[in-house]
């Protein structure tokens, strides 16, 4: 599989339910998660059910555009509650594969399922329209810093 995409947004929050902030850089820690993000410090809604694939999560910018185009839903990048907004990356095709994110390498473990509380947080009825396109869960194989604009491509 060949593709060349990029990082369009980076997002982080320290605790469950809190709004995510847009940032320019994230520090990925191999085998653990993202420095300061809820999943790396057991402060996430799902931290009582640990899963290595929650170390870093991805969401397609193209899905945000499709929500607007097909459902007139304005969901901002920091509202989808994943860590990385991608462009030009076929996330749903990457389950079980490794890929490069800037200088780091991640391995996708499964598709992300949407969570009902995204509706409570955003006030938008988006649960059902996000099914099968709510992003990708991955574990961090090689850590380091990633930045806005970094290239995403197969390993």
């Amino acid at each position: 599989m060949t593709f060349t995409g990029k990082i369009e947004g980076l997002h982080i929050t320290p605790r469950s339910f809190l709004p995510m902030r847009n940032v320019e850089t994230l520090e990925l820690i191999e085998g653990l998660g993202i420095e300061g993000d809820r999943h790396s410090i057991n402060e996430a809604f799902h931290s009582d059910r640990p899963e290595e694939g929650r170390q870093i999560t991805f969401f397609e910018a193209e899905t945000l555009e499709a929500l607007k185009r097909d459902h007139d839903i304005d969901l901002r990048p920091e509202q989808h509650r994943r860590n990385v907004t991608t462009r030009g990356v076929p996330l749903n095709h990457l389950v079980g594969r490794r890929f490069r994110v800037g200088a780091c390498i991640v391995e996708a473990t499964r598709l992300t399922t949407p969570c009902r509380h995204i509706e409570q947080i955003t006030g938008l009825e988006i649960y059902e329209v996000l099914l099968h396109r709510a992003g990708l869960n991955a574990k961090i194989v090689k850590g380091g810093q990633i930045h806005l604009g970094d290239i995403i491509e197969p390993e």
């Binding site: 929050t13 320290p14 605790r15 469950s16 339910f17 809190l18 709004p19 902030r21 057991n42 402060e43 996430a44 809604f45 931290s47 009582d48 509380h117 409570q120 947080i121 006030g123």
Partner: protein, 312 residues
């Protein structure tokens, strides 16, 4: 016990004593992160250290994204939540709260008239900043039995609202003329009321013809005591006796039947169950008549028949 990660973690950042009975609690994230957003009229569940869960309207400006403010009136003869907040909670204490929910959204794209009875002013406090900033047409009637009980009168008077604010002190003979308020509503105007049940009943009687333009918010507890009855759980066949003075929810818990519950006051509907046979006595405050044909809230509701069958 609720898990910390399943609620919003806040700390008490500041406490203001408004008057001898009312305190404002300002809650923030432990590191000052933004809190989940809310809209005017929303409320949150507060998980008290004792395990009690209570609902309070958010009284701060929704545009202030790092603070939840609740106003708590100490109820000496209440169920204990307000006393715990007043007596046991201090600046720096951690408090778990729910995501904001809004069952009383206050419109900002139509003229609104708001009627507040006593501490029922709290949801309107979150609406005023937006209405003022957007220069929307509104009127606020703030009613209390005496000036002493109009806890927020001084604060409202300082907001320079002019004729948009009217304070009605019934002891002083300035009782609200509800019929006149309703008669003066513009054709597209919405009427909002939050206050004690007696006031809400009067508003619903007087302004019921407004239909979807009438909005009421209850506070306090809907409670009642029934003679003994039993609950048949249709799926398991288990029969649970409910003693006089015991709520259906308490009886279910005593029989190890888990029903999620939150407010236990007939407002939040967390505990609602489908009922199948019998004659329920509905005492919750927030279901439609149609929903009552299918659902019952065991926290406050009861049974007029000797047996009530639930779909559990």
């Amino acid at each position: 016990m609720v898990k910390r990660i399943h609620r919003v973690t806040t700390i008490v950042a500041r406490i203001e004593q408004v008057d001898p009975l009312v305190k404002l609690f300002h809650l923030q994230d432990p590191e000052g992160w933004e809190l989940p957003p809310f809209t005017a009229g929303a409320h949150i569940d507060i998980h008290l250290p004792s395990g009690l869960i209570r609902q309070y309207s958010l009284s701060g400006d929704p545009a202030c994204d790092d603070t939840y403010t609740i106003a708590v009136q100490r109820e000496e003869d209440g169920r204990g939540g307000s006393r715990e907040l007043h007596d046991a909670l201090h600046v720096g204490d951690e408090l778990l709260v729910s995501l904001p929910r809004n069952t009383f959204p206050i419109l900002d794209d139509a003229p609104v008239t708001m009627i507040a009875g006593g501490i029922g002013i709290t949801p309107f406090l979150s609406a005023l900043p937006g209405l003022i900033a957007m220069d929307r047409p509104f009127k606020l009637h703030y009613c209390a039995s005496s000036r002493d009980k109009a806890s927020f009168a001084a604060m409202l008077e300082q907001m320079d609202l002019g004729s948009r604010l009217q304070i009605h002190i019934s002891e002083g003979g300035q009782r609200l003329d509800l019929a006149q308020v309703v008669a003066e509503l513009a054709s597209e105007e919405h009427l909002y009321c939050c206050g004690p049940t007696r006031m809400l009943d009067a508003v619903e009687d007087t302004a019921g013809s407004l239909g979807a333009r009438l909005h009421v918010e209850h506070f306090g507890v809907a409670a009642g005591a029934d003679p003994a009855y039993e609950v048949l759980l249709a799926r398991s066949g288990q029969v649970v006796p409910v003693a006089p003075g015991q709520t259906m929810l308490q009886a279910l818990r005593a029989a190890d039947v888990h029903v999620p519950a939150s407010c236990e006051g007939g407002v939040c509907l967390d505990c609602k169950c489908r009922w199948l046979e019998g004659t329920p006595i509905h005492r919750e405050l927030t279901m439609t008549k149609k929903d009552r044909e299918e659902w019952i809230t065991p926290c406050v509701s009861g049974s007029a028949s000797e047996r009530l069958t639930l779909d559990l």
